[in-house]
Amino acid sequence: MSKINPLYFALGIPVVVIVILVALVAPRMGGGGKFADLTPFSAETYRKDWATLQGNSYRLECQVDRQLSYVEGRGRVLAVKPIDKDPSRATVRIPIFIPAGTSDSFEVGQRFKCKLRVTRDLLVVEALERF
């Protein structure tokens, strides 16, 4: 026979679930997520003057448009469309490089956020998270 009042269980379990859910959803709702500490990547700036961005790391939320190239042992180049908060603005596709070694699969239409490093003019994905 349990000494704990079953009422506590009836009230405690939903609270715990709610807390867990809040813990999971809150960061997403806040916009930063996993790479919230990084500056969002500006495709416009990159196109105009990529040199000013090189060496920096950025956060990019994007959608896979198509895979442009894949070289075994080297990696793959994807054309992605940055996801803009303002849907009225036209977005241009940009190429990103995903080095070999990642076990992720990339399908057209997939959305993910990633950490980009601008190496010379190349946008190298260092980490990513689907959403």
């Binding site: 990529w50 442009l68 190239s69 070289v71 596709r93 190429p95 490089f97 190496t119 010379r120 003019d121």
Partner: protein, 641 residues
């Protein structure tokens, strides 16, 4: 005349590279030889007046009549004689009276009028009428020839009688001599018998051979007389044969000379003067037999008469036909019939009396036909049509269409040879060109195309001297468009220069391809697809940046695709600077504008692969110089050639 035309048509046909379309002129000898379907007068007349027959052969001076060739003499003389006949005034003599006199002579000697009683009288009357007939000009004193012949026979008959008398006297003498010989022989035989009957040992009363010598001389005399009689017989025979042959010769001469009425009169006299045993034909049998192609035909006097009468009838019928055709306005047919009739019976009164004005009309036609023939002989094809029309105006039944057709064919053949010559010149085959030109000039010497061609050849030599250096200069300056614009001139000038021709061919192909692309770009632009048009322009511009037409098209399309062009320019510049990923970004942006662009697609793939392969190296390599921000806004300038 018919032959003249056949000749004219003949050479026209021969000029068309040996296609003998015109019927060949019939051989004078063999043209109708053997074609004896009808040996009757009607049959012969049909053949003579057959439009398609070659009864008169002007070239050889012969005429076919009833399957037999009659020699008219030298061809030029034949033409001249016919022309003279047409030009000469009509004989003014009284034709009817003349014909009546001749008919009277024949009547006096005919079987229906001559008999035992008037035998000599009729002969004499007919003989006298011969002199009357000779008074007419158209008789040409041929009646006198007959009279002379008749008189000769009469003289021969006198001689014949004299020989007969001598022969009778000799025969009488021979009989006397024969009696004496018999008498002397009887005496000798009696003496010999008496000697044999006398007793043996009795003395003989006389010589056993008494009178033998005399008998021998008498026999010799009788033999001489016999020989003289035989000699007289031979003389009679020779005299008779001579007279017969001379008379028959004259008869045949008249027939072959186409003096049919005189031949008839001679025949009539012959029939009267010579007895039945001499009526067979000795002279001219072979010639007469040719008119009657029957294997066992025996010529007689009647054969001569029939030929002459048929000829007279044919001539008369021919002249009636001529008159009828003239009345119907068919002057050419009338002319042909008159010509044939003339040569069959030029001495017939009906021919000689043909009216002067009609003959003058025929003469004008004759001269036009001769002129047409001359044009044909000289192959002056350009003027033939004019003359054919002129003759048609004069004689509406003149068959000018076949002539014009042949002329047209000959002209075409000449022009085709000329074209062949031009083609051969262009291909550098001078020998073939020369042969073709010679053939063209031979068919139609005055072909204006031949002259033009010669001028062109001379001009071409001058052009060659100018065009080759000009071509070399433009080629060195890469002025393809300039060469292309004068491609035909250069093609002609460089036809024999294989090396330069090949260069020209390449230039023409190059500019042709460029023009096709420009055209394609223009069409795409007009179809509201300027980005694809620009792709085409950009691609072509890489190799043909100097072309003005391309430059103009490019400048026309550029304002429509300013942003697209800018992106492509930026991409190319970034790639040149080593910023392949940035270049790829620009290409992707351009592709977003022009998704169907093969150029963009190809560039994206190429650069993506390159980026993927070099990503690791790039990550550790030197940093390339970033593009200036200002440059990115500029419209790219395509690389100069």
């Amino acid at each position: 005349m018919r032959h003249i035309f056949l000749s004219c048509l003949g050479w026209c046909a021969l000029t068309v590279l040996g296609f003998a379309q015109a019927p060949p002129p019939a051989s004078a000898q063999g043209g109708t030889a053997g074609d004896y379907k009808s040996s009757t007068a009607e049959g012969g007349a049909d053949r003579v007046f057959n439009v398609n027959s070659d009864s008169v052969d002007m070239e050889n001076g012969t005429m076919q009549w009833k399957g037999t060739t009659m020699n008219l003499g030298n061809s030029r003389a034949v033409r001249a004689r016919f022309e003279r006949y047409l030009a000469a005034p009509t004989d003014s003599g009284d034709m009817k009276r003349y014909v009546a006199v001749l008919d009277q002579i024949q009547f006096l000697l005919s079987a229906q009028s001559i008999n035992q009683e008037n035998y000599y009288r009729n002969q004499q009357e007919a003989f006298n009428l011969l002199f009357k007939a000779a008074e007419f000009d158209i008789d040409a004193n041929n009646s006198l020839t007959i009279a002379s012949q008749v008189q000769k026979v009469w003289v021969m008959k006198q001689e014949f009688k004299q020989i007969e008398v001598t022969k009778a006297q000799l025969e009488t003498l021979r009989k006397v001599q024969e009696g004496i010989i018999i008498n002397r022989a009887d005496v000798i035989e009696e003496a010999n018998a008496a000697n044999e009957q006398a007793p043996k040992g009795a003395t003989k009363l006389g010589k056993a051979s008494t009178g033998a010598t005399e008998l021998g001389y008498k026999v010799k005399d009788e033999a001489r007389t016999q020989a003289q009689i035989l000699a007289k017989d031979a003389e009679l025979l020779a005299l008779g044969l001579k007279a017969k042959i001379e008379f028959q010769s004259q008869m045949v001469s008249f027939l072959m000379a186409r003096r049919y009425r005189h031949s008839l009169i001679t025949s009539s006299f012959y029939r009267v003067l010579f007895k039945g045993g001499s009526q067979n034909i000795v002279v001219g049998a072979k010639e007469v037999k040719e008119f009657f192609p029957i294997s066992d035909f025996v010529p007689t006097l009647e054969s001569f008469d029939m030929l002459s009468r048929e000829a007279i009838k044919d001539v008369s019928k021919g002249m009636q036909t001529v008159d009828d055709l003239v009345k119907q306005g068919e002057l050419y047919a009338a002319f042909e019939r008159l010509q044939e009739t003339y040569f069959l019976g030029e001495f017939e009164p009906v021919v000689m009396a043909y009216p002067q004005e009609k003959k003058r009309e025929m003469l004008a036609l004759w001269r036009d036909l001769r002129e047409l023939q001359r044009l044909g002989d000289e192959r002056d094809l350009g003027n033939v049509e004019g003359y054919v029309n002129k003759i048609r105006g004069r004689a509406r039944d003149f068959p000018g269409a076949p002539i014009l057709s042949k002329v047209s064919n000959a002209m075409n053949a000449s022009n085709m040879s000329l074209l062949s010559a031009k083609g051969a010149v262009l291909s550098g085959d001078n020998a073939k060109a020369e042969a073709a030109l010679e053939r063209a000039a031979k068919i139609w010497p005055q072909n204006p195309g031949v002259k033009d061609f010669a001028t062109q050849v001379v001009s071409r030599q001058d052009t060659l001297a100018q065009k080759i250096p000009e071509f070399d200069r433009l080629l060195a300056e890469s002025k393809w468009r300039d060469i292309f614009n004068k491609k035909l001139e250069y093609a002609l000038a460089l036809a024999q220069d294989k090396e330069r021709s090949e260069k020209l061919r390449k230039v023409v192909n190059r500019v042709g391809e460029l023009d096709a692309n420009i055209q394609k770009a223009s069409v795409l632009a007009t179809q509201n697809n300027p980005y694809l048009a620009w792709d085409v322009i950009v691609e072509v511009y890489k190799t043909e940046s100097d072309d003005l037409v391309l430059a103009k098209t490019r400048s026309d399309i550029a304002p429509l695709v300013a942003n697209y062009a800018q992106l492509i320019g930026q991409a190319e510049k970034l790639e040149r600077d080593g910023a392949e990923a940035a270049a790829l970004t620009a290409w992707l942006a351009a592709q977003d504008l022009n998704p169907a662009s093969l150029t963009c697609d190809a560039s994206v793939k190429r650069l993506a692969k390159s980026v993927a392969e070099s990503a690791v190296i790039r990550a550790t390599g030197a940093v390339p110089a970033p593009p200036a921000a200002a440059d990115a806004e500029e419209v790219p300038v395509p690389p100069s050639k």
